[in-house]
């Protein structure tokens, strides 16, 4: 079982950010284990069983999210978002059973291009987030067991977040 170094974690996170920025969502989905959770809490202190989250996807719901974005006539991602993700402050905490915890900060710039004067388009937005990952080594690769994204503005009103934050 290889230990996960900070350099390994960075490589993994950069590759994930690239997949999302390039809208290669099905390849991104393949980074997750079958028991994975993708979670954007409104209040990270609350048990998701007791409170709603902005996103609380198990693997099946995550597949629906990617399917909706890539294979159905979504309005809210047509035109699609351009995104640009910066990943920083990477910290690794080794775990048991072939797992490791990775904490980092992300800054996501997002914009949907459109024609002149269109409400809601052509307006760049910035999202700052604490991100927490649990990675598991399986079949020769690290995979995501948990991706938790806590936006700085998690409890503020949000305009559409249907690009994947």
């Amino acid at each position: 079982m290889p230990a996960l170094s900070v350099a390994d974690a960075e490589r993994f996170l950069y590759a994930e950010a690239r997949l999302l920025d390039e809208r290669r969502f099905e390849e991104w989905e393949a980074l997750f284990t079958d028991d994975a959770v993708y979670w954007l809490p409104i209040d990270p202190a609350l048990d998701p069983a007791q409170a709603v989250a902005i996103i609380y996807d198990d693997r099946k719901r995550l597949h629906e999210r990617v399917y909706r974005l890539t294979r159905t006539p979504v309005l809210d991602q047509n035109p699609p978002s351009r995104t640009l993700r910066l990943v920083s402050n990477v910290e690794v905490t080794p775990g048991a059973d072939g797992e490791a915890a990775v904490d980092c900060r992300q800054l996501i710039a997002e914009m949907r291009p459109g024609g002149p004067g269109q409400q809601g388009l052509n307006a760049p937005r910035l999202f700052a987030a604490h991100c927490h990952y649990r990675l598991r080594h399986a079949d020769g690769a690290w995979k995501i067991v948990l991706k938790k994204v806590v936006l700085l503005t998690a409890d503020e009103p949000q305009y559409n977040l249907s690009f994947i934050p």
Partner: protein, 424 residues
């Protein structure tokens, strides 16, 4: 005064209650002066929803809200009673509370340390010797709103001392609210905090119209229907057929609803399905209600309570107008009281799947709001049509009843809007 009356008459003329072609003028979404008039004539005069009592369960609990653009505090005092107070120090006008919600034994203005009890009583101020001995503190408490009602746990205020009573305001929609509560055998709900909140660059009425619009679903939410098909929950054909069943109703007072028929068949209604799946729930519901009542309770409804509240299957939806082209919406998910835990957990996860800023439905609706807000700036032809189904609409018990895709609820909304704006 002549100018003012002329302005108001102009606002009333922006709704054409034509029996064949009900129309509204595009400026109702774009005119900033009209928006200010709406705050005065609608949000500060009629009854506005400010929250549910379960959000402030214990003495000392409070939440702050906007009614129109006016800041209020809803607070529970040590006497156990609820108060709705203007969030404004009586001394120099600063707010006395900055938090969205919390728990406190008092409210203190940070400017000169005037301190108020949770019922608004002034209980002290800094260097009080600067006021005469006969300074009557009882005259300088936080100002309560003129009218405050707790209806089955739902809290409403009116900032106007006069006007239709709450009972009169709610009467046309009351029985539907009772059915909605009836999915809990205790006929009670408890809000689960925090809410989903979203904001969009568009007018508040776009959300008010859309929540009872049964016409858009098969087009705007086709991607949602495809997700349901992927999950083998319903084929697109079944989803589209379901969206054709039931009725759309416009009620007096601007209220309205979109209704899917009730059923005791587990394949045909959520309530019957849950009763079938959870025998304890089935027993409790059958103890409490007759079959006839269960038929009504199991009908799925989006209920609009004019001007700022929807009751949905999973949430209270509260509309907060911020500017003529900026609106905030808060979705307060609630648990049904005295039902199996698994039912409420399933409701929360089901809610997240469709609703909220990253759900599979809400963002598509919001996208449309921004398209309307952009489109109505084109002024070659200024009127929007809300005449769908006028020719086949019928009146039953004072309700305008239409096909599920008809615009009966939207017409009811604008009839009330016009009445209030003309009276401003």
């Amino acid at each position: 005064m002549a100018v003012r009356e002329e302005t108001l008459r102009r606002y009333a003329e922006l709704v054409a209650d034509d029996p064949r072609e009900f129309r509204v003028h595009g400026s109702v979404y774009t005119d900033p002066d009209l928006f200010d008039a709406e705050l005065r004539a609608i949000f500060e005069r009629t009854w506005v929803y400010v929250g549910h009592e379960s959000e402030v369960p214990a003495p000392g609990d409070y939440k702050t809200v906007l009614v129109g653009t006016q800041p209020l505090i809803v607070t529970r005092h040590e006497d156990g009673r609820l108060y709705a107070l203007y969030n404004r120090c009586r001394h120099r006008g600063a707010v006395v509370c900055r938090q969205e919600r919390g728990h406190s034994n008092f409210f203190r203005c940070r400017y000169h340390n005037w301190v108020y009890a949770n019922n608004g009583d002034l209980i002290g101020m800094a260097q009080s010797t600067g006021y005469p001995d006969d300074f009557d503190r009882s005259r300088y408490g936080l100002t309560p709103v003129p009218r405050f009602e707790n209806y089955r746990g739902l809290l409403f205020v009116s900032l106007a001392p006069e006007g239709p009573s709450f009972a009169e305001h709610i009467a046309p929609v009351r029985r539907y609210i009772e059915y909605w509560l009836g999915r809990s055998p205790a006929e009670a709900v408890e809000v689960s905090l925090p809410p989903h909140r979203y904001e969009y660059p568009g007018n508040w009425k776009l959300q008010a119209e859309n929540g009872t619009d049964g016409y858009h679903g098969n087009y705007v939410h086709l991607s949602w229907q495809r997700v349901l098909a992927l999950a083998r929950e319903a084929t697109v054909e079944e989803s589209q057929h379901y969206r054709q069943s039931g009725s759309a109703r416009g009620l007096a007072g601007g209220h309205g609803l979109l209704e899917r028929p009730g059923s005791l068949n587990p394949n045909s209604s959520w309530t019957a399905r849950m009763m079938h799946r959870y025998p304890d729930y089935d027993a409790a519901m059958r103890r409490r209600f007759t079959d006839e009542e269960l038929m009504q309770i199991s009908a799925r409804r989006n209920i609009f309570v004019f001007p700022n509240l929807f009751l949905f299957e999973t949430h209270f939806r509260v509309i907060v107008p911020k500017a003529v082209d900026r609106t905030e919406v808060a979705l307060y998910v609630y648990a049904l009281k005295d039902v199996p835990e698994a039912i409420n957990q399933g409701r929360f996860r089901g809610h997240e799947r469709f609703f909220g800023p990253a759900g599979f439905g809400t963002p598509d609706d919001i996208e449309i709001f921004t398209e309307v807000q952009t489109g109505v700036r084109a002024r070659g032809q200024e009127w929007l049509l809300l005449n769908r189904g006028q020719h086949r609409e019928r009146v039953e018990d004072g309700e305008w009843v239409g096909h599920t895709t008809d615009e009966a609820p939207q017409r009811a909304l604008y009839r009330q809007w016009r009445r209030l704006m003309a009276d401003a």
